[in-house]
């Protein structure tokens, strides 16, 4: 009798631990969502945006990045977003931007709602997008942007080390 109680308690303890761990220490809650629909967005530079990066409106997570592909004709990045129905209707002039969480954190997609009466449906494309801000571009603008100021005429402009990006 003691044997069966021991084994039963052992198995119950194991499953209780496994279940508690699954909900308390993994992202299981985040994955159990309701219905969702897909939207596309094009961007000229994604930065370090990864798959399953969050999509936020007003700072609240309402979806994830489902797929990232390259358009071989226009050489734009096409990002597919999974938007939860909890977010309601997004007007067709909503804009999507790629921001960074914190100073050097991971990239996420922020959607700013617009004012149009038409709503985006499953499979539509978000037209207004803003690419990620890349640190090297900022540094390049700072270094070579000085060449246009009047002080630069007095001292020679620094020799460009790499061709400036678009």
């Amino acid at each position: 009798m003691k044997l069966e109680i021991g084994v039963g308690a052992f198995i119950v303890l194991g499953f209780a631990c496994a279940l508690a761990l699954a909900f308390a220490s993994t992202d299981a809650r985040g994955r159990l969502g309701g219905e969702s629909y897909r939207l596309n967005a094009r961007s000229s530079n994604l930065g370090e945006l990864k798959l399953r990066a969050p999509v936020k409106i007003a700072g609240v997570k309402i979806g994830e990045v489902a797929a990232i592909t390259l358009d071989p004709v226009a050489h734009d990045a096409v990002v597919t977003l999974n938007i939860s129905r909890v977010a309601g209707d997004l007007s067709s002039d909503s804009s999507a931007s790629i921001f960074t969480a914190g100073l050097l954190g991971e990239r996420y997609v922020a959607i700013a709602p617009g004012g149009d009466v038409d709503a985006l449906a499953d499979g539509d494309e978000i037209i207004y997008t803003q690419s990620a801000i890349v640190l090297e571009n900022l540094i390049g603008k700072y270094m070579f942007g000085n060449a246009k100021s009047p002080d630069a005429a007095a001292k020679p402009a620094p020799a460009p080390a790499t061709p400036e990006e678009k």
């Binding site: 044997l3 021991g6 084994v7 052992f10 631990c17 508690a20 699954a22 220490s25 992202d27 994955r31």
Partner: protein, 246 residues
Amino acid sequence: MRESIANLGRLGLFGLQILANLTPQRGSFADLMRQLYVVGARSVPIVAFGGAFVGLVMSLQGYRTLSTFGASNALGTLLGLSLYRELGPVLAALLFCGRAGSSMAAELGLMRTTDQITALAMMAIDPVRKAVVPRFLAGVIAMPILTAVFCAFAILGGYVQAVWVLGLDPGHYWSALQGSVSLGEDYAQAFVKSAVFGAVLSLISTYAGYHAPPTIEGTSRATTDAVVQGSLMILFLDFLLSALFY
């Protein structure tokens, strides 16, 4: 060299013999329950305490290092990922090997020395089916359960150290943990790893015990071999599985 290759071959054939005898028979469930108690239920205290102390010390050391980068809020990430990916399955398997693996090898070695295995064979009972298969199955079933217990106590120990002793914010601890551990990639694969470790450990321990020379020295050498070879095999397989998964 040829001897060790032959040994490896014998080990593989023994494993096949165990697998061939896996079909349930009358009385095999009672044997399995008994072995689950001996191998699994009685390993819970050592695994739980080991997990709690691993969580405590990892939290302590991790906090010291992370706070030099100002990233002490990532302690939950450090603890969760290292536990699920590596430390949980490996340390639970090593503890299991030391406790249950050695006891399996010693029991089977003693059965061999006191001629109980010969007696079973003379009664037309397959000794592998009667003595080895329940231990093997108990090891395979108990190992993932023990890994879950280990990880649970380690995370709790990490929480105690981080929040009650070091003063980290509990919200940061849990949110970092939950945000970084993936259910499918990290959590599930910890259990896959531990099931593989359980199977290999049980195979090595029962092989060492069953094929021990029927002397006192033979039994003690079998116990030592089971623990040493089992531990090395766990570390090797851990590297192999990690390379496969990641």
